[in-house]
């Protein structure tokens, strides 16, 4: 079976009122780096805990490595967790922390020594065996927590926002390290985060969650380029939203009229419903110039309201004649002039960059 973790119809209620998960269906492939992405309270941590066994689903089934995990307590699952707060054993040194799981499973002493040292090498903490957790920095503790989990060679490794407490630079470093370790080990990683950039960087696939439901699953590029719901489009990166109505179909093209009077067309994907809908366009896909070139399809005129200079790029906020606001992202390559606030500009973008949202 190439799916390491499967959740079938899993839902979780706390008490009578709180719904943490609503009928979740998920399949995670073997060896993949899978992220659960969403804002606080979306249910991603609950999902992780259900896979680990710390919570029992109110309905539905959990399979790990092909086996049904019902009635299996956490200590009997081939799963290990890296906790957000590291949860290291403060009263033991680094070596004993890492060796804990192996000792519990009665692995022979010589083998323990070997594997612990290999784990320390993996996380680049060789020689730290005798240190105590309180003597280590945040990043180092993070790595001990990771080593402690991977040394057991679990089928699935669960990581609950492990980089949350680190500063930006260290976080970026650790992201790359985690990715490379995962490659080296080949273990399935299930990674929970609220940082969309992190998810995009590290994951093979992302599951975007919101309010106890799954919004969209897919590879990072697909999530980014072809968001299916307004939430996904909004949560990941910056998006321009156009509310309006679908006018009709022209073969495989969809015609759309925005509330601000823009005529847009986009390729058709899946079924199209009529009535009020929303269209999403990424800022970097929009071209800006004093004058649009001839034949530009999705175009409009407007006035630049504000420009934010970000070093390599600039964000232009343009107000169209129809009253809509569009954000345009533009590379600051040499030679091109900046459009100062107040200047009249033309904007246009490709139909392929235009997405009709499902909600």
């Amino acid at each position: 079976m190439s799916d390491d973790v499967t959740l079938a119809g899993v839902s979780k209620r706390f008490g009578a009122d709180v719904v943490a998960l609503e009928s979740l269906d998920l399949s995670i492939r073997k060896g993949e780096f899978f992220s659960l992405l969403g804002p606080s309270g979306c249910g991603k941590t609950t999902t992780l805990r259900i896979i680990a066994g710390f919570e029992t689903p109110t309905a539905g089934e959990v399979y790990v490595g092909g086996e049904n995990m019902a009635d299996r307590p956490p200590n009997k699952r081939p799963v290990n967790t890296v906790f957000q707060s590291y949860a290291l054993f403060q009263h033991m040194n680094v070596y004993d922390n890492i060796a804990f799981g192996l000792q519990q499973r009665k692995v022979p002493k010589a083998e323990i020594k070997q594997r612990v040292e290999a784990a320390l090498r993996l996380v680049r903490l060789e020689g730290y065996g005798r240190r105590r957790p309180r003597e280590l920095s945040g990043g180092q503790q993070q790595r001990v927590a990771l080593a402690r989990a991977v040394v057991n060679r679990p089928t699935v490794l669960l990581l609950d926002e492990p980089l949350g407490a680190l500063d930006l630079k260290l976080r970026k470093e650790m992201q790359l390290e985690l990715k490379s370790i995962q490659h080296e080990l080949g273990t399935t990683f299930v990674y929970v985060t609220h940082d969309q950039e992190e998810a995009l960087t590290m994951s093979d696939r992302i599951a975007v969650m919101n309010r106890a439901r799954l919004e969209q699953i897919g590879e990072p590029s697909e999530i980014y380029e072809r968001p299916r719901t307004r939430f996904v489009a909004d949560f990941i990166g910056i998006t321009n939203f156009f509310s309006g109505q679908v006018q009709g179909l022209d073969g495989d093209r969809v015609r759309f009229l925005s509330d601000g009077g823009l005529n847009l067309c986009m390729p058709r994907s899946g079924s199209v419903k009529s009535g009020p809908s929303t269209v999403a366009v990424r800022p970097e896909k929009i071209k800006i110039a004093e004058q649009a070139h001839i034949g530009a399809v999705n175009r409009c005129e407007g006035v630049v309201e504000d420009v934010v200079y970000l070093g390599s790029t600039s964000h232009h906020r343009v107000r169209t004649s129809g009253g809509e606001t569009i954000i345009v992202l533009r590379q600051n390559d040499s030679g091109t002039a900046v459009f100062a606030p107040g200047s009249r500009v033309s904007l246009w973008w490709e139909p392929e960059s235009t997405h009709l949202l499902e909600d």
Binding site: A87, F89, H91, D96, F100, N152
Partner: protein, 304 residues
């Protein structure tokens, strides 16, 4: 040249300007003054008095008199008193262990499983303390008396035929001491167990530990500070206990506290009583130092 020299040597007024004045300002150490006064007045000074007394001889009327002698200490080196010391230490050790065995499960339950009833449990543990210690001890006498409540209950369920004969024995003394000191064991245990991070326990389970292993390897060592604090809070005062051996022991199980009390209130041999007190203090201090050292050296080893 001269100008340079003049510049090199600082003027006296300049030197004064650089006196570190912050050393002259008290920095919150004044907060300790009331406590220091209290400790000196009610602890240090009486302690000194006892030390002095322990070296005084007594005259033919049995009153302390001026002079210096080691007789009071020499007198203690006697099988009779050594036996009393050992018995006190044994009883105190026994009560401490009993308190630990009884108190730990309760503290564990309160910290880990009582949830929103936590505060109610704490209240229930502390309520007996609101009643006078003497009255509670007398309550035990009524309970354990051969014609008392316990005998009555056990007889009515036919568990025994003869009346219980446990009052005024070393057993009832140990029972009384365990009962009175139990809250002092429960509170530190509760506090240290409460501080155990639940996630750490989850981590242990995640790492293949079952309930018992997680307890033994994680919870128990992490609660060690509580165990130490509780043992000291129980063990030290109970060694010098004299009311309970007097009341519940029928004054026939002599502990060091009784012997000292007798010296001061009946024999009026204050020097000897002082020497006895000091030796007891020294022994207890030694025991504490040994205990703490043993615990610090081997924190994962646990206590028992």
């Amino acid at each position: 040249m001269a100008r340079i020299e003049a510049q090199a040597r600082p003027s006296p007024s300049a030197a004064r300007r650089f006196t570190p004045r912050r050393l002259l300002r008290p920095r919150g150490g004044w907060l300790l003054v009331p406590n220091a006064l209290w400790a000196s007045l009610f602890f240090l000074i009486p302690l000194c008095i006892i030390v002095i007394y322990s070296f005084l001889p007594i005259d033919e009327n049995g009153n302390a008199t001026t002079g210096f002698t080691l007789d009071n200490y020499v007198q203690l080196n006697d099988p009779l008193y050594i036996h009393i010391f050992w018995r006190s230490i044994a009883m105190s050790l026994g009560s401490t262990v009993l308190c630990l065995l009884l108190g730990y499960p309760l503290a564990y339950f309160m910290a880990m499983q009582a949830g929103r009833y936590k505060n109610l449990c704490l209240l229930l543990v502390i309520v007996p303390f609101w009643t006078s210690f003497l009255i509670r001890t007398y309550g035990w006498i009524i309970l354990l008396s051969p014609n008392g409540l316990l005998t009555g209950v056990l007889k009515s369920v036919h568990a025994i035929t003869q009346p219980l004969d446990i009052l005024y024995t070393p057993f009832s003394v140990m029972l009384g001491m365990t009962y009175s000191y139990l809250p002092l064991m429960i509170f530190p245990l509760y506090v240290s167990l409460e501080k155990v991070d639940r996630r750490v326990l989850e981590a242990a389970r995640d790492l293949y530990a079952d309930g018992w292993s997680a307890f033994r390897r994680v919870t128990l060592p992490l609660s060690l500070p509580g165990i130490v604090a509780g043992s000291l809070l129980v063990g030290i005062p109970s060694t010098g206990e004299f009311l309970i051996p007097d009341l519940l022991g029928g004054a026939r199980t002599e502990m060091i506290g009784n012997a000292i009390s007798d010296q001061f209130t009946q024999a009026f041999d204050w020097p000897f009583g002082s020497a006895m007190s000091l030796i007891m203090m020294v022994i207890l201090l030694g025991a504490i130092v040994l205990y703490l050292r043993m615990v610090r050296r081997n924190p994962e080893a646990g206590v028992l």
